[in-house]
């Protein structure tokens, strides 16, 4: 079963991400591509909990009205160096007020965990087989690479100079 990091804990994941080109829907809890959701929203509605995943160039505004009914929203990183998903996540969390599980899928690697979390992802799904159990356990340390980041983001909306009185000299 694929592994997932949720709020800093490793868990087994029972959702299935339906590929972009899929024509048949498997059984179980599904995270479907935006295109499929768009054309089959009513058919999908009766199936129980549902997730939608977005490609880097999908506009999160498209699912804004449906967000309260979605159990998971996933954002795909086909390549980890494609940073569009960070803005997608920030928009979902702020402009569209999404409060449910926001999952990073695709090429999700430990050296991006910190930035992903800061932009509002609370679930991180590295590619299956990319990390051994021990490596994944060790990778949790990357969630805390920096203890007091400078700027405000989704996880801590206030910049460091609002969070703390600054000016104390370095030890």
């Amino acid at each position: 079963m694929p592994k997932l990091i949720v709020h800093g804990q490793i868990r087994n994941d029972d959702w299935q991400v339906v590929p972009a080109q899929a024509t048949e829907l498997p059984n179980g809890k599904l995270i479907v591509p935006l295109a499929l959701w768009r054309e089959a929203a009513t058919r999908l509605a009766g199936r129980g909990p549902l997730g939608v995943w977005l490609q880097p160039d999908d506009d999160p505004a498209e699912i804004a009205d449906a967000l309260p009914s979605l159990a998971v929203v996933a954002v795909d990183f086909p390549k980890f160096a494609d940073g569009r998903g960070y803005s997608t996540a920030a928009l979902l969390r702020t402009r569209y007020g999404y409060q449910g599980e926001l999952r990073a899928i695709g090429e999700v690697l430990r050296d991006q965990f910190f930035y992903l979390t800061r932009c509002g992802f609370d679930a991180l799904q590295p590619p299956e087989g990319r990390y051994t159990d021990a490596q994944l356990e060790a990778a949790l340390a990357s969630l805390a690479d920096f203890s007091e980041p400078y700027q405000g983001a989704i996880d801590r909306p206030e910049p460091v100079w609002r969070r703390h009185a600054r000016g104390g000299l370095a030890a």
Partner: protein, 560 residues
């Protein structure tokens, strides 16, 4: 200058630990080459032809003597005894071993330095006016704003994987000395009618393969809103900038494709949601940072030092240096001194460990312990008493740092080129040296007057060739190194892009070409007219005609 508090220090310390771990995972085979590349680049580490190259951030060009000594130590201990100042006011080491880099970063963190975001597709080091705080034409000191924005951009989680690199420059003076028109974002500090401080914001400027002069996106963004405004620009760029072709990925391409009006409308729409949010700056935070940039304890001195005036009359060599390398200061009795890193035979911008140590000592003795790097790849001691200039000159001269050529032909901007850089099509350092050797007569140089020759070894334009009065660009023709020449580029308030004069030249021809261009100028100039002004007045035709007529004549002789 800015000194770290506990938060700043913790961030650079945590960065060292993070990068040490990443590098050890890479060396252990847990991180692939592709996965490690952006991580090392965002730490300024390139894998070059000879060895790795480490680019150290010098935020907006400011250095203190302790930092200079540490850089000297690093040059000595981990490199071959020298470093190279880049056109973004940073310092590069060309020979460190990959395994040593975490240790080097640790040594840097001890003196409040780092290599964060000096490369990669992220927000790069902020650049600014090397005469900030001392120039007479300054409206608003850009340094506190550059520092505030530097902190905001450091490890910004949303903008670490942009379509391409992103460079921001800040200017606060009448004369733009930060090349803000050629940056992804150019910030010009201004006051509105009510006297409130804000920014005129330019966007989409840049050099590289497609040189573009930046366009004004906002005439006035109040200081409180500058972070949210920049974030709005960055978000539009991050979402919609091209990622299919790295040569079309800079923000200038997006701005041109949409048109500035449509781009502005998107940014405004984005900003409408974020304006006034928690990133809105406060007076407390601005005052905290600005307190690091107050004037040093200047002595009260009479306007001009009479002893210095007399020395200028008595000593011609000293006067020649003062004419080029000494600059007026806002404080009576003081001057700013430029240390030329453009001595013939030395690669432009290069400096040895011994020189770095000496500059540190001279900074302590003559200039309140601080020095600055310029984007023209020279150094500045900003706060020197006029009465001590001669003593300083003698010490600089003994160390090879007093070539009286600032702003003259031999003060060339030059990238490391094919000798070091993987991207280069052609070498640039030997071209600079050949030109310097051709024009080694100081009287002739002074007669030619102000002239900027900028050399880049490839399209990426690290040597800013587009904005050189004469630009030289290395190009690859069937595996051979050739050089394309442009005339009429300029930086500053009336920035312009040079025009290509015609087919490119072999390396050996370049000094001749420069000589023909200079002759054309001298024949056509009005009294005291600068090269760039003559070039703008007469256009490139006369330059072109002379250069290619001579080349044709040479060929006939050679073939006869």
């Amino acid at each position: 200058m800015y000194r770290y508090d506990a938060f700043d220090q913790r961030i650079v310390d945590e960065r060292v630990a993070q990068f040490r771990d990443q590098t050890s995972r890479y060396l252990a085979g847990e991180l692939s080459e592709d996965e490690y590349r952006p991580l090392r680049l965002q730490n300024g580490l390139y894998i070059q032809k000879q060895a790795p190259m480490l680019r150290i951030a010098v935020p907006y060009g400011l250095l203190n003597s302790r930092q200079l000594r540490r850089l000297a130590h690093i040059a000595r201990s981990y490199d071959k005894g020298y470093g190279h100042f880049s056109t973004r006011q940073n310092l590069q080491f060309n020979w460190p071993a990959l395994e040593d880099v975490p240790r080097i970063l640790e040594e840097l963190a001890e003196v409040e330095m780092h290599a964060i975001q000096t490369s990669g597709n992220c927000i790069r080091n902020f650049t600014s006016d090397p005469f900030a705080g001392v120039a007479g034409d300054e409206r608003i000191d850009p340094r506190p704003w550059a520092e505030i924005l530097r902190q905001w951009a450091t490890f910004h989680p949303e903008f670490a994987y942009l379509p391409r690199k992103f460079k921001i420059a800040v200017n606060g003076a009448e004369e733009d000395r930060a090349v803000i028109q050629c940056h992804d974002i150019g910030l010009d500090l201004v006051r509105d009618a009510a006297g409130e401080v804000g920014f005129r914001v330019l966007v989409g400027g840049g050099l590289g393969r497609t040189p573009v002069i930046g366009k004004e996106i906002a005439p006035f963004v109040p200081w409180r809103d500058i972070i949210t405004y920049c974030e709005a620009i960055l978000r539009v760029y991050n979402r919609f900038g091209r990622r299919d072709n790295m040569y079309k990925a800079r923000i200038k391409i997006l701005v041109n494709a949409l048109g500035i009006e449509a781009f502005r409308a998107q940014v405004e729409e984005e900003w409408r949601h974020s304006r006034g949010g928690p990133s809105t700056l406060t007076e407390t935070e601005v005052a905290r940072v600005a307190a690091h940039f107050v004037d040093p304890d200047y002595r009260t001195l009479p306007g001009d030092d009479t002893g210095y005036r007399a020395q200028l009359v008595q000593d011609k060599a000293f006067a020649a240096w003062a004419k080029r390398n000494v600059r007026a200061h806002k404080q009576p009795g003081y001057a700013s001194v430029m240390l030329s890193l453009k001595k013939t035979g030395i690669a432009p911008g290069d400096i040895t460990d011994t020189q770095l140590d000496l500059v540190a000592d001279l900074a302590d003795r003559f200039s309140f312990g601080e020095a600055r790097a310029t984007h023209e790849q020279n150094l500045v001691l900003a706060d020197v008493e006029q009465s001590r200039l001669k003593e300083l000159w003698q010490l600089l001269r003994a160390a090879g740092l007093a070539t009286p050529n600032i702003g003259l032909l031999t003060d060339m901007i030059c990238c490391p080129g094919g000798d070091f850089c993987n991207l280069a099509n052609a070498k640039s350092i030997p071209v600079a040296e050949a030109i310097q050797q051709r024009f080694d007569d100081l009287d002739y140089l002074h007669d030619i007057g102000e002239l900027e020759i900028n050399i880049s070894g490839c399209m990426n334009a690290c040597g800013h060739h587009h904005v050189g009065h004469i630009g030289i660009l290395g190009v690859d023709k069937k595996g051979e190194e050739w050089y394309q020449i442009t005339v009429g580029g300029a930086q500053g308030n009336d920035a312009s892009l040079g025009k290509v004069i015609g087919p490119s030249f072999a390396r050996v021809e370049v000094p001749d070409v420069i000589e023909r261009l200079i002759e054309t100028y001298l024949d056509n100039r009005f009294e005291d007219e600068r090269f760039i002004d003559t070039a703008r007045r007469i256009g490139i035709e006369p330059f072109k005609t002379r250069v290619y007529a001579q080349r044709e004549a040479n060929r006939k002789v050679a073939n006869a």
